[in-house]
Assembly symmetry: C2
């Protein structure tokens, strides 16, 4: 797979705004990445609201602190399955999940909007 492109993303230093096509990503590819980043942010937010440390969450997930850190960092090695199932473990409802997803709205259509 060419999900290795996401490795480049990280390597490239990440720049400022959204995942624009400063790499050769297709619309679908970048949309997927932004989606996962939105989930990452939601995850961190939710964990902190719960007053949990990464270590505590990791224990709940039967995973490790480093993986939780990677989840929250939007590391390319983290799958959407892992992100979503973690959010679900944190008690996120489908409705909130849907909200998180819409929040990662691709900047399609609005071009150089300020």
């Amino acid at each position: 797979m060419k999900k290795s492109k996401r490795e480049k993303l990280k390597a490239a230093g990440w720049a400022i705004g959204s995942v624009q096509d400063f790499l050769g990503l297709s619309d679908a590819e970048s949309a997927l990445i932004e989606l996962k980043l939105a989930l990452s942010r939601t995850l961190r937010d939710r964990r902190q609201r719960c007053g949990m440390s990464q270590v505590e969450l990791a224990k709940r997930l039967r995973s490790s602190q480093s993986r939780v850190a990677k989840m929250e960092a939007g590391d390319p090695s983290v799958s959407m399955d892992l992100l979503v199932s973690t959010l679900l473990v944190l008690g996120t409802s489908s409705t909130d999940l849907a909200k998180a997803i819409r929040s990662g709205e691709g900047s399609k259509g609005r071009h150089a909007a300020a």
Copy 2:
């Protein structure tokens, strides 16, 4: 991982309604499965609306017909990443994606609601 439980699901013959706890699945686990099933259904629906065959879609994805079939069948071997990125390739907006996710609403809270 114990995603092997999902293999059992398939083996168990699938029964009637939703993925209830007729297996030892936790809430989060079954919610994830229902979520993926909702995405599967959305995918098939969208592909058919586009008037595409599985073969055509596979070609567009640079994948194979068998994998598309598995995606639509909710096969446990299919990741959420694959489902979502396929939907995105089919031009699904984040909004519609969110809708699909809400449609897989877990039957949490409403117990024996007629």
